[in-house]
Symmetry: C3
Subunit: 457 residues, 3 copies
C-alpha cells in the first residue's frame, strides 16, 4: 500500500466530525420533538385511540415483527453484501453505521408531517417504519459497494432518507397509494437512487473489473446468511404495517408463497443460463429474494396464493436473467457499475411490484377490513385504491429516486469526502485495520482472476 491514497483518504478528522455532528443535531431535535407513545404521554386529543387502531390492544403487539425487520436490516442486508472476498468488514460494519444513523433520522422525518401537539410519539410501529427508511439507503449502498468512503455514505444516508420521506409522504399520505410492502417507495426507489449515484460516480478505471471484485468460498457462505434471513423474514417486512387481522394474514401468506415459488424459478433459471447448467451463487444469493420485493405492493390484497406464486416466479426469472445479461450491459453501455446488482434484486422486481399493484387495483383486489375507530367501535373500512393513483405512486418514486440520486451523486463526488482511488476499491484495508496475514497473502490472492465477478463482467 502506498501512502498517497491512504493520506488522501484519511478519515481521522472528517469522519468523526461528521458523525458526531449528525448525532448531536439529532439529539437536539429529539430533545425538542420526540416522546414515548405511552398512555401517560397522551392528552385528550384522541391520539391514543388512534394509535390503538394501529397497535391494537397492547403497545407491544408488533414487537416480534419489529425484531424480524430489525434482523433483515442489520443481518440480512449486512451479510448479503459480504460476498466480496476483501470487503466483509465494510459490508457488515458500514451497514450497521448507516442503519444506526438512518433509523434516528428517518423516525424524525417520517413523522414531522403529523405531530400531536408538537410532539412525535414513538411506538413500535414508528420504529418499524424507521427501520424501513434505512432499507432505501442499504439498497443504494449495494450499488456503490466498494467504491465509496464512509463519509460519502453518511452524506448519502442523510440526503436519501430525507428525499425518501418526502416521496413516501406524497405517495402514501397525499395520493393515498397502497404499497404495504413498499415495492415502489423502498425497493424501486432505493435501487434507482443508487443506480443514479453509481452513474455519477462512474469509474472508467474499473471498466475491466477489479481483482478484488470477486468472492471466495467462505465469503459466499457468509453472504448466504444474509440471503436466508431476508428470505425467511420477508413476510414480516411486507405485513408489519398492514391492517391487523385478515389484511396482515394475507400479507404474510402471499409473501411466503411468492418467495417459495420465486426460489424454484431462480434456481431453474440460474442452471438454464449457465454453460454447463451449474448454479451460480450470485443468482441464488439475490434472485431468490425478488419474489418478496415484487409481491410487496399487493401483499395485503386478495390476490390469492396462486396469484402471489405467479408474481414470485416472474420476479425470479427476470432477476436471474438480469444478473446474467443486463448488469454487464448497464456497466459497459450506460456506465452504471452496480456492484451488488441491486437493479436485478430491487429495481426491476420493484417496478414489477408496482405494475402488479396497478393491475390488482384495477381488479379491485384491495378487500375491505374491520378497524376500530376513534370511539373504539369496529367498522368495516373499504379502502379506495385506484389504478391511476397507483401508477402515479410508481412514477413519483422513480422520479424522486433518479433526480434525488443524481443530485446526491454530484454532492458525493466532491473529492474532499475521500473517495478511494480505483486500485483501493473493494478493499477493507483502506478504511479498516485489517489483520496482517491476510494482507500478506493478498498478492497471492491476485492469482484468483478466474473467480467469477459478482457482475459476471
Amino acid at each position: 500500500l502506498t501512502d498517497m491514497p491512504s493520506y488522501a483518504t484519511n478519515m481521522r478528522l472528517k469522519f468523526p466530525i461528521l458523525a458526531l455532528t449528525l448525532e448531536a443535531v439529532t439529539i437536539v431535535l429529539y430533545a425538542l420533538l420526540v416522546v414515548y407513545d405511552t398512555g401517560d404521554a397522551h392528552g385528550h386529543d384522541g391520539s391514543h385511540a388512534e394509535s390503538n387502531t394501529t397497535h391494537s390492544s397492547s403497545p407491544m403487539t408488533l414487537y416480534p415483527m419489529f425484531q424480524d425487520v430489525h434482523v433483515m436490516i442489520f443481518i440480512g442486508f449486512g451479510f448479503l453484501m459480504t460476498f466480496l472476498k476483501r470487503y466483509g468488514f465494510s459490508s457488515v460494519g458500514i451497514n450497521l453505521l448507516l442503519a444506526a444513523f438512518g433509523l434516528q433520522w428517518g423516525l424524525l422525518l417520517q413523522n414531522i408531517w403529523h405531530m400531536h401537539d408538537g410532539k412525535i410519539r414513538v411506538s413500535i410501529e414508528k420504529m418499524i417504519n424507521a427501520d424501513f427508511s434505512t432499507a432505501t439507503v442499504l439498497i443504494s449502498f449495494g450499488a456503490v459497494l466498494g467504491k465509496t468512503s464512509p463519509v460519502q455514505l453518511l452524506i448519502m444516508t442523510l440526503l436519501e432518507i430525507t428525499i425518501f420521506c418526502i416521496n413516501e409522504h406524497l405517495v402514501v399520505e397525499v395520493l393515498n397509494v397502497s404499497d404495504v410492502g413498499a415495492s415502489m417507495t423502498i425497493h424501486a426507489f432505493g435501487a434507482y437512487f443508487g443506480l443514479a449515484v453509481a452513474g455519477v460516480l462512474y469509474r472508467p478505471g474499473l471498466r475491466n473489473g477489479h481483482e478484488n471484485e470477486v468472492s471466495v468460498y467462505h465469503s459466499d457462505l457468509f453472504a448466504m446468511i444474509g440471503t436466508v434471513y431476508l428470505w425467511m423474514f420477508w413476510p414480516s417486512f411486507n405485513s408489519a404495517i398492514a391492517e391487523p387481522g385478515d389484511p396482515q394474514l394475507r400479507a404474510v401468506i402471499n409473501t411466503y408463497f411468492s418467495l417459495a415459488a420465486c426460489a424454484l424459478a431462480a434456481y431453474a433459471t440460474s442452471s438454464l443460463v449457465e454453460k454447463k447448467g451449474k448454479l451460480d451463487m450470485v443468482h441464488i444469493q439475490n434472485a431468490t429474494l425478488a419474489g418478496g420485493v415484487a409481491v410487496g405492493t399487493c401483499a395485503d390484497m386478495d390476490i390469492q396464493p396462486f396469484g402471489a406464486m405467479a408474481i414470485g416466479i416472474t420476479a425470479g426469472v427476470i432477476s436471474t436473467v438480469g444478473f446474467k445479461f443486463l448488469t454487464p450491459i448497464l456497466a459497459s453501455k450506460l456506465g452504471i457499475q452496480d456492484t451488488c446488482g441491486v437493479h436485478n434484486l430491487h429495481g426491476m422486481p420493484g417496478i414489477l411490484g408496482g405494475l402488479a399493484g396497478i393491475l390488482a387495483a384495477a381488479l379491485g383486489k384491495k378487500a375491505g377490513y374491520m378497524a376500530t375507530n376513534g370511539f373504539n367501535i369496529s367498522v368495516l373500512v373499504y379502502p379506495s385504491v385506484s389504478p391511476g393513483y397507483q401508477a402515479c405512486g410508481l412514477a413519483s418514486s422513480l422520479g424522486f429516486a433518479l433526480v434525488g440520486g443524481l443530485i446526491t451523486g454530484l454532492i458525493m463526488k466532491i473529492p474532499f469526502w475521500g473517495q478511494p482511488p480505483d486500485q483501493n476499491c473493494f478493499d477493507d484495508s483502506i478504511f479498516w485495520e485489517v489483520p496482517e496475514e491476510e494482507e500478506e497473502n493478498e498478492e497471492r490472492l491476485t492469482h484468483g482472476d478466474y473467480s467469477k465477478t459478482k457482475t459476471e463482467a
Copy 2:
C-alpha cells in the same frame, strides 16, 4: 476437473425442466384448491370457530413460533450441513431449494384430507405444518449429503413428503396418536427413510472415505450456526402446534430442560470416548440436539422438568456413542453410508422419543386441558392416549419410512438423474460455479503471526 463427469451430470435441461414442471403443477393445484383462512373466506360451516380453537383469538398468534420454526428449517438444517469443507454451497443452497418446494407440496398433501367446501384454508398453523413436512426431507438429505444430484433430491422431496403425509394422517388423525414434537412422524421417519435411500445408493468406491468428506476449521464454525439455532428454537418446534395454554407451556419447558441436560451429557460423553479426552465437533454439532428429538412425543405431557431432563441425558449419551461406534459399523457392515449421521441425531433419539411416549401414555401423563368448542364455550378436554396406539404410531412411521425409502432410493438410482461419480462427491464444483482461488492459496494462510491482537497490546 475432467469434462467427462461434468457432461454426464450436466443439469442444464434436466434440472430446470423438472423444477419448473413441479412448480407449474403446484400453482395449478393452488389455483384450484388453496385460499386464505380469513374471516371472509368462511361460509356458515363453523370452520372458523373450529380454527379459533387452534389459533385462539388473533390469526397471528402463532406467527412468532412459525418464524422460529422457519429459522430452524432454513438456517438450522441448512448450516448444520455446512461442516464439509467443500460442500457448503449445496448444504445451504439445496436445503433452501428443497424446503421451498417441499413447503408448497406439503401444505397441499397435508390438507387434502380435510377440506372445507373443497378448499384448503391457509393459516399460520398450516404454514407451520408445511414447514414441518419439509423437515423430513432435510433429515434424509443429511444421510445422502454429497452423493446426490439436485434432480435426484427434488424427486426425493416429492416422494418423501407424499409418503410422510400419508403416514402422518394415519398416525395422527386415524390412530389419534399423540406426537406433538413429531419424534416419530418426522425425526424417526426422516432418518430411516434417508438411511434406506442411502442403503440403495451404496457406493463401494467410498468404502475408505473421501478426501473431501472432512471439515475445515471455518466450515465447522459455519455448522455451529445451524446447531445453535436448532438448539435454541427447538422449544418452538415441539410446542408450535400444541394446545394453547398449559399444554403448550409444558412443551416449551420440557424441551428447554431436555436440551440443556442433553448438552451436558453430549459434552461429557464426547470427552469420555476420545483418546485424550478431547471434545469432537461432530458430537457437539449433533448430539447436543438429540434431547429435542427425544422429548418430542411427550413434550406436552405432564412428565415434569426432571423427566424431560432424564430423557435429554439418555438421548445425549446414545447419540454421541452412536457417532463414535455405530456409524462406522453401519457403513462397513450394512453398507449404509450416513454422511451426517442422521441415525444418531434423528433415528435413535426419535425411537427413544416414541418409547418415552408409550411409557408416558401408560402412566397417564397426557393431562386434560381447556379448549373452546364450536360454540365458543370453554370445555375441559380429556385426550385419550393409549400405549398401544402410540406403539402402532411408532411402528407405522418406521414401516412407511423403510419401505418408502427403499422404493424412493430405487427410483433415484436411475442413472439419468445425474448422480455424481465417486471422485466428484462432497464437492460443490460439480453442480455450482465455485470461486477458483481459495483451494490454491490455502497454504499461504499459514504465515499468520503478525496479526493485531485483540487487546491492542
Copy 3:
C-alpha cells in the same frame, strides 16, 4: 504439539465426571423442587393471580422476548468471542456448555428464595431470568478466554451463578433496587468478577502477548454475527422483565435509541484514536454494544429518548477509549489480562448505568404504572426508588463481584483442574479435535487423509 501438556491437561476423566455429577445433582433437586407454572399446578394460594400480573393474560406472552434473550446468550455471546483465529470452537462450544448448565443451576438458585408450598413453578419469565443468570458467567468467560480449561470454567459457572443469585436477591428483593436491564447486577457484576479471576490467574508468560491471541479476517466476520445479534436484541434484554405496558415500551425505546447513538459514537471514536483514522474491528465488535449495557438500569424509566441517546453516546466513547488506552495498562500495570476487554464493554458501561440510575432516581424518573393485583383489579403502582438504595445496589454488586471473583479464582487456580500451559493458550487443539490441514498447510488438504472424517471412519 508435544505430548506433555496434552497429558497434563487430559480431560478424559475429570471433565465427564464433573459434568455428569453436576447434572445428576441438578436433576435430583429438580425432581424435589421444580414443577410447571400451569393452572393445574396452583393451589388456592393466589399464586396464579400473582403470576398473572407478570405474564398477563397468556402464559406465552413473554415467549418471543425469551427467544430473543436466548439468541443473545447462545449466538450473541458465543460468536462475539470467535474473533480469535484458533479459538472459535471453544468460544461457541464452551459458551453453549456453560450456559446450558448455568440456566439449570440459575433457575434453582434464583427461586429458592420464594417458593410456593415448597415448589418452584417454572414460567417463561423464570426461564428468561435463568438465561440472564448465565450472562454473568459468559461475561466473565470473556475475561479469561483462551487461558482456562472446561473443568475450571464449569467450576466458575457453579460458583459465580451462586454468588450472583445471592447479590441479585439482596439488591432487587431486599433493597428493592431498580435495575430492569441489570447494568449493575449482571454486567458490572460479571465483568468485575471475571477481572478478579483473571487477576488471580495472571500469566507473566503472556506479558508480551501470544501468537494466537490475534484475529484473522474471517474470524472477525464470525464475531460480527455475535455483535449484530446482541445489538439488535438488546431491547428485549432490557425490557423482558419490565412491567407490562408503558414501562416495557419505554425499556424497548430507550435501548433502541441508546444503541443507535452509541454506534455512531463508537465508530467516530474508533477512527479518532487510530493513526490513519481507520476503524478497528475490536471497537466495532464491542463498543457499539456499550449503550445497551449503560441504559439498562434506567431503561424502563421516564428518561425520554434523548436521555437514552446521551447515555449511549457516553458509553460508546468511554468503551472505545478503554479498549485503546486502558486495557493495555490493566494488563501491564495491574496484571489483569482481559482477553475480550469485558472491562470496556460490561465493566465501565455497567457502572455508568448504575450511576445513571442513581441520577434518574434522584430526578424521580421512575414513573407509576398500572398493574393487576391479586384480585385482578387494575391499580396504579408508584414504585419507590431511592438514589441511596440505587447506590447501595451498585456497591453491593461490585463488592460481591470482586470478593467472589477472588475466591473463585483461587479455587480455579488449583493445578488439578488442567489449566493449559502458556504455549497452548488461545488454541482449540488442546481441548478439541481440530481438523489438521488448516493448522498445517495445503499439501495435507490436497490429500486430507489425516483430517478426521465426519463418520470417524
